[in-house]
């Protein structure tokens, strides 16, 4: 067991990574930060709309889309990946609805059938064409965020070195996500909480739905090779559920996402340094840790707060007389 869990050494876990290889590690943490931010922001709306499992399905089924795009276009450019993934995501949504409408198979089973089949197809293609597509099963599973700093050359704009391509891409996607959510805040809000009202206000709920699915696939793809297909699900759902323990207001919940992302990315990075384990899953474990904290201590839906409230509500020791107003 001692081999498995190394003794905790503050110097080794918290100081050495930054002192020895700041340049390398900062990109890993930033990648995690931007990935969790983008996913968490989109995920808020998935959870609100009770579509968490559709997010799960899409994050799995983009895999064959990416692989086919690689094989057809022979390039690992972002454009090809986005197109492939978008196509796969649309196919997933359409297939799920098709099976549901044209047979008596219910939605949950339809989701389960579609995404497992597409994912299986993707895994087979990855293992058949590993040499040609620069992806392997480990990458599909938990991503290779460690490789982020190794991407050379860095993206340059006007002679200024910005950083590794995937980090820059992820940052751009996160910023666009935030901007889109701000611009379309009203439409998203009203169509998530009250589709009927949305219709009467002139917001087309199904356009919002498909736009959200499309953007979800873009976000999933841009962090795919760093965090893999399955961990994305956690990054989509966990920030939203953690926030719902802490606040009742959607703006605050959205604002808490970058903070949670920072804590998870940093916490996960140090956890991985301590335990010598894969970094991306460790970031998700850190997110789970945040959720556990919020579950216990969250002021709105946390267990302690609830218990306190229950105690306050149950039989106060002095009973107010409703007539006289005295105790």
């Amino acid at each position: 067991m001692n081999e498995l869990v190394p003794a905790f050494d503050f110097q080794r876990v918290f100081v050495t990574p930054w002192a020895s290889d700041f340049q390398g590690n900062i990109w890993v943490v930033l990648m995690g930060f931007f990935a969790i931010t983008a996913c968490g922001l989109v995920g808020q709306y998935l959870v609100l709309r009770r579509m968490a499992l559709v997010g799960d399905a899409i994050s799995h089924s983009v895999l064959p889309g990416i692989v086919i795009a690689f094989l057809l276009l022979k390039s690992r450019s972002s454009g090809a990946m986005f197109v492939g993934a978008l196509f796969a995501a649309v196919l997933t949504t359409v297939l799920i609805e098709f099976i549901q409408k044209k047979s008596r198979v219910k939605q949950d089973a339809a989701i389960g059938i579609v995404f497992t089949s597409l994912f299986a197809l993707g895994v087979i293609m990855v293992s058949l064409f590993t040499s040609q597509i620069d992806l392997d099963l480990d990458c599909v599973l938990h991503g290779e965020i460690v490789n982020v700093p190794l991407e050379f050359p860095f993206v340059q704009i006007a002679g200024f070195k910005l950083g590794p391509a995937s980090v820059v891409r992820m940052a751009v996607v996160s910023v666009i996500t935030a901007v889109l959510l701000m611009v379309f805040y009203r439409q998203l809000l009203v169509s998530s909480f009250d589709p009927g009202l949305a219709g009467s206000l002139g917001v087309n709920a199904s356009v919002v739905h498909y736009a959200l699915m499309g953007w979800l696939s873009v976000v999933v793809v841009s962090c795919f090779d760093s965090v893999g297909a399955i961990l994305v699900v956690a990054m989509l759902i966990l920030p939203a559920t953690t926030a719902s323990m802490v606040t009742d207001r959607l703006p605050w919940a959205l604002a808490s996402v970058p903070l949670q992302a920072l804590l998870s990315a940093l916490g996960g990075f140090h956890l991985a340094t301590w335990l010598n384990c894969a970094i991306a899953p460790a970031m998700v474990v850190a997110s789970c840790g945040l959720f556990a904290l919020a579950w216990v201590f969250g002021p709105v839906d946390g267990q302690l707060a609830k218990r306190r409230r229950r105690r306050a509500n149950s039989l106060p020791e002095t009973v107010l007389d409703p007539v006289s107003g005295k105790t």
Binding site: T116, I230, S287
Partner: protein
């Protein structure tokens, strides 16, 4: 329209409650005892076959080197190698257990709970491996089952103590447990000691790696699942389809649920080696959904799901035998997905193609009947003089071109309801065609009369409705309408309703047919 599962079962339950038709209800619930015994015997036979010690055992299917797919296939299906027997028997056992339990998951709409459970077992696999630093099937079995159950417990704990909805809770637990598992796996990979080989095959599956201990566990779980389902079949059925009734009749609904989840965890864990953590949920869902498309009866659904699961498992282990480097799980999933696709398209009642075909032929029949009706109307306008109808007049009446009308008439001729004169000017309905035309007109007018008479709808509003219903009214319903309308002869628009005698052509005069018609009115 076939009644849905729920309707069938709840109507039977209602009858049971009422106390009558006890026998019919029990016949639905009764487990096919003979089939069960036969199945168990078959299983035991296979088990014995696999466990017979053989002198030369290839350690793994992958060790077998042979060229040519056909030779490989022969070698595979003659079961010469014990390792092939292991893989095949493993696939059969997995198909049986996941098919049985998956069916209940699908009808209970808990498919995603199965998915969450199957991802949540990963940390347990890693911990089981750490138990004595080797791929000990028993330790992994225990660890994975505990982790899976802990995952399900977490889901219900989160949903019951917070306002988080079930889908989000499932997603959290699924990905959270899975990431913990991945962390542990990568830590194990980093260890300097221990036999780490094979641990990764749990993620995407490797049927070729199934060993004798795995097989024993599989056999125990499968026999347990079969016995459990056989013994508690009624309880499972009732709690799945009508939880309210089950609770009211004093069944322990929660315990049945917990028991099912326990066996589900077992089934998932034994399937890990062959299918892998990521895709094992597919094996629970897809064969059961395939069976759901093919039958309305639960016991048949169980049997079909088992068969589909076994077929997919065998196909997957065959691929694993041919290409040992490839993961097995995805092939098993694709095999079962193709079975689902076939059922989706060709299922006798639910299939897309057949339903499309039925709809097409129904539309064609309605089109023919409308043409016949037009011929009748034309003939009626001429006071039923002459035998045929002029195609030109028919086209004018229906406001269509001569060509369109001829196309319609040709399909009428093809159906044997009319003949066309050589110069294509006159269409003559055959006796059968004339009978059908009269029936349609009679249905139409009777229905119009019924609507104005019984439902008090004004006569100028009834035509549209009658246009639709005239094609679907059955013989018995028409009799009933006639009786209620006291065998009226004139419709609300003042036209005569063709009487049964005229239609049949046997033509006894109105008023003295055998089923007692009486002319009503003056």
């Amino acid at each position: 329209m076939s009644p849905s599962f729920q309707e069938t079962v709840s109507s039977l339950l209602a009858r049971r409650l009422g106390g009558d038709a006890e026998n019919r209800a029990t016949s639905v619930f009764a487990f096919d005892q003979a089939g069960f015994v036969r199945g168990t015997f078959f299983l035991v036979l296979l088990l014995v076959m696999a466990c017979v010690p053989t002198s030369a055992q290839a350690a793994r299917v992958g060790d077998v080197v042979e060229t040519g797919v056909v030779q490989q296939a022969i070698r595979f299906f003659t079961l010469r190698d014990p390792s092939v027997r292991y893989a095949l028997l493993g696939a059969v056992l997995i198909g049986v257990s996941t098919g049985l339990l998956g069916s209940f998951i699908v009808v209970r709409r808990m498919a995603m709970a199965g998915d969450a459970l199957s991802h949540a077992v990963l940390p347990g696999v890693a911990l089981g491996f750490l138990w004595n630093m080797s791929k000990d099937p028993l330790a992994i079995f225990v660890g994975a089952t505990l982790a899976g159950l802990l995952g399900t417990a977490f889901v219900s704990w989160i949903t019951s103590t917070t306002r988080i909805k079930e889908d989000a809770a499932l997603g959290m637990v699924l990905a959270g447990f899975f990431s913990i598992g991945l962390c542990l796996m990568s830590m194990i990979q980093g260890l300097p000691t221990g036999n780490k080989s094979g641990i990764n095959s749990f993620i995407f599956g490797q049927a070729a790696a199934i060993g004798p201990t795995d097989l024993k566990l599989m056999a125990i779980v499968t026999v347990g699942a079969v016995l459990g389902v056989a013994l508690f079949y009624r309880q499972l059925l009732v709690t799945s389809f009508d939880p309210g009734f089950a609770r009211a009749s004093g069944l322990p609904v929660r315990w049945v649920h917990h028991g099912l989840m326990l066996f589900l965890a077992f089934a998932v864990v034994i399937a890990l080696q062959a299918v892998g953590v990521v895709l094992v949920s597919a094996l629970l869902i897809i064969p059961a959904a395939t069976a759901y498309l093919l039958t309305d009866r639960m016991h048949r659904m169980l049997a079909i799901a088992v068969a589909a699961g076994v077929a997919a498992g065998v196909a997957g282990s065959f691929v694993s035998f041919l290409a040992p480097a490839l993961p097995t799980g995805p092939f098993i999933v694709l095999a079962s997905a193709s079975l689902f696709g076939v059922a989706f398209l060709f299922s006798p009642r639910q299939g897309l193609l057949l339903r499309w075909w039925h709809q097409r032929s129904r539309n064609a029949r309605v089109a023919c009947e409308n043409t016949l009706k037009a011929i009748y109307h034309l003939s009626e306008a001429h006071g039923f003089k002459g035998e045929g109808a002029l195609v030109r007049e028919l086209a004018e009446r229906r406001r269509s071109t001569l060509e369109e009308e001829l196309v319609r008439i040709r399909s009428l001729v093809a159906a044997g309801w009319a003949t066309l004169s050589d110069d294509r000017a006159v269409v003559y309905p055959t006796p059968g065609g004339w009978q059908r035309a009269s029936e349609i007109v009679r249905n139409h007018r009777l229905w119009e009369l019924y609507l104005t008479h019984a439902a008090q709808i004004s006569p100028d509003h009834v035509h549209e409705d009658a246009e639709k219903i005239e094609h679907v009214l059955g013989e018995e319903l028409v009799r009933e309408l006639e009786r209620r309308l006291q065998f009226a002869t004139v419709d609300p628009h003042g036209k005569a309703i063709p009487a049964i005698g005229e239609i049949r052509g046997t033509a006894p005069s109105r008023g003295d047919t055998t089923i007692g018609f009486r002319r009503s009115g003056p």
